[in-house]
């Protein structure tokens, strides 16, 4: 297997191991010298002095998911764009820049259409009903 030169990945592995060692080591060393006398009160979650009611693992608002959804689509788009962007300069030098530019434009504009759609439909708004309440308030004042 001498032809597969993977030595370039050595620092990655060393750094990951080192990160684990630094984190684990400091916790371990601390574990030997720090005090440890837990009480029941100490081990409750801190909620500004109130006793916590129920669990924190409740349902969350769906807008977090919509953000994550738009994110993942654009994440995938960018990972497809990376290799094409990397060859753009070379294509430009041999005179194929226009063709590639057209395909990149098509690719990006199709996704921009998705972004515009989400924008128009209000998926990008964090406060969904803000506009509606403003209209309601204005209507009530009249």
């Amino acid at each position: 297997m001498s032809t597969l030169n993977l030595d370039v990945y050595m620092p990655v592995v060393i750094l990951i191991v080192l990160a684990t060692l630094v984190a684990g080591g400091s916790l371990l060393v601390g574990g030997l010298i720090r005090p440890h006398n837990p009480t029941k009160l100490k081990e409750t979650a801190y909620e500004c002095g109130e006793e916590p009611i129920g669990t924190a693992w409740a349902n969350f608002n769906v807008r977090f998911y919509v953000i994550a959804l738009i994110f993942i689509i654009f994440d995938v788009e960018s990972s497809l764009m990376f290799p094409v962007a990397a060859v753009f300069k070379r294509f430009n030098e041999i005179g194929l820049g226009g063709t590639l530019l057209m395909s990149v434009l098509t690719f990006v504009l199709v996704l921009v259409a998705g972004l515009v759609y989400c924008w128009k439909k209000g998926d990008l708004d964090w406060v969904k009903s803000f506009h509606a309440t403003k209209v309601n308030i204005a209507a009530k004042e009249k």
């Binding site: 370039v8 060393i14 969350f60 300069k89 430009n92 530019l101 708004d125 964090w126």
Partner: protein, 398 residues
């Protein structure tokens, strides 16, 4: 195909004699072994240096904030209080480690480790100088984006595992903020990749020069805007003020690490400060010419020519100059990060999302298309060289 710190050192004669000697005495090809030792030492040096920089970052933060608010800041431990971060570290190690009874222990312990791994692994491709890059992977910048996204998982798990409402809110906010701002940052990086024609840090920096007009920041107007888009996104991605909503003290106690005490909190903080350095370093490498030194001093060729120095010595001097160049620019950006924190008020969460999705992302996409059109229209020339050429042809006509 990849240049690493090992390939830089193997230019010198001493290392090759060591390798051949070891190979003879051990009876097998010792290149890999020596490479491992070199990498291990270099990684230790980088991690040690970065941990110190992260520690000094907390000190600098307090000192600069004190300066901005006309206070003294820490001044008791060591000269000018510079050893404050060591005292903090000792305090954190000595603090009692509390894991809430209702917490999910497995994820509670795992979360700071994920943050640390995500940040430390990005250090592998940070280009400190042309020789002293731990490894210059072909997919350098893309690898960095991928590894940095582990921090988002760490932040989310930190918030989830504590089973405290503040933590959970902070974790959800933190994760959604980190992933949202990854988009404008990544698209801006693509526009720079478009200009440079490669993903490795060497290619990205190799297209730039030492002088400011040769930087990608001043290559064209789109890249100039792109720098600010990237910098704002990087601030938000590292949860720095004015984007510190996940750990907003006045609303969420301290966000996703409310329940973390002692060293576990320290690991989160250390990861955050090192990440700030990494994103400043990436901004330097992409936009501000990276390690390049004016007049090609970094290669050392001019020293050999004029002063007649030994080639390896001249190269080493060039490396030191390049290190200086990189660290100067990065620390300047680091100062700006801290400065911004004590200048701007915190955003509201809806403003945060509006800024990301309605301003930065469209601007980043516009910049990407603008860079592509610029590359096609002007054949990859920078605005400076265009002005220079036009001026010289005009001067030639008269």
């Amino acid at each position: 195909m990849n240049s690493t710190i090992f390939s830089y050192f193997s230019q010198s004669k001493e290392l090759s004699t060591i390798i051949s000697g070891l190979s003879k005495s051990l009876g097998f090809d010792a290149t890999s072994l020596v490479a491992f030792i070199v990498f291990a030492i270099a990684c230790l040096v980088v991690v040690g240096a970065l941990a110190t920089i992260g520690g000094l970052g907390t000190y600098a933060e307090r000192k600069i904030s004190a300066d901005l608010q006309a206070r003294q800041g820490p001044n008791r431990v060591g000269p000018y209080g510079i050893l404050q971060f060591l005292a903090d570290g000792v305090k954190m190690i000595l603090k009692e480690d509390i894991i809430p009874a209702n917490a999910d222990r497995f994820t509670f312990i795992l979360a700071p480790f994920l943050c640390m791994i995500g940040v430390f692994a990005t250090l592998a491709v940070v280009p400190f100088s042309s020789g002293f890059t731990l490894t210059d992977l072909n997919v350098g910048i893309f690898y960095l984006v991928g590894m940095a996204s582990l921090v988002g998982v760490g932040v989310f798990l930190g918030g989830y595992s504590s089973n405290s409402k503040w933590s959970m809110l902070g974790g959800m906010r933190g994760a959604s903020q980190i992933i949202s701002y990854e988009i404008p940052a990544t698209i801006t990086i693509i526009s720079i990749v478009l200009l440079a024609g490669g993903l490795s840090m060497g290619t990205l920096i190799g297209g730039q020069g030492g002088m400011p007009q040769e930087w990608y920041m001043f290559h064209n107007p789109f890249a100039f805007i792109g720098f600010f888009v990237y910098f704002i996104s990087a601030l938000a991605e590292t949860n720095r003020a004015p984007f510190d909503l996940p750990e907003a003290e006045s609303e969420l106690v301290s966000g996703y690490h409310t329940e973390y005490s002692g060293m576990r909190f320290g690991l989160f903080a250390l990861a955050e400060y090192i990440e700030v350095f990494v994103v400043c370093g990436v901004a330097t490498a992409l936009f501000l010419g990276g390690y390049k030194v004016p007049f090609e001093l970094g290669t050392g060729a001019i020293l050999v020519e004029k002063l007649g120095l030994d080639i390896m010595l001249a190269k080493n001097i060039g490396q030191v100059l390049e290190l200086g160049s990189f660290f100067t620019k990065t620390f300047a950006l680091y100062y700006v990060v801290i400065w911004v924190r004590w200048t701007l008020p915190r955003l509201r969460v809806d403003q945060l999302m509006t800024l990301c999705w309605k301003y930065l992302t469209p601007i980043a996409i516009f910049n990407l298309l603008g860079c592509a059109v610029w590359m096609y229209a002007f054949n990859g020339k920078s605005i400076y060289s265009l002005i220079f050429e036009t001026a010289s042809t005009v001067a030639g006509h008269h």
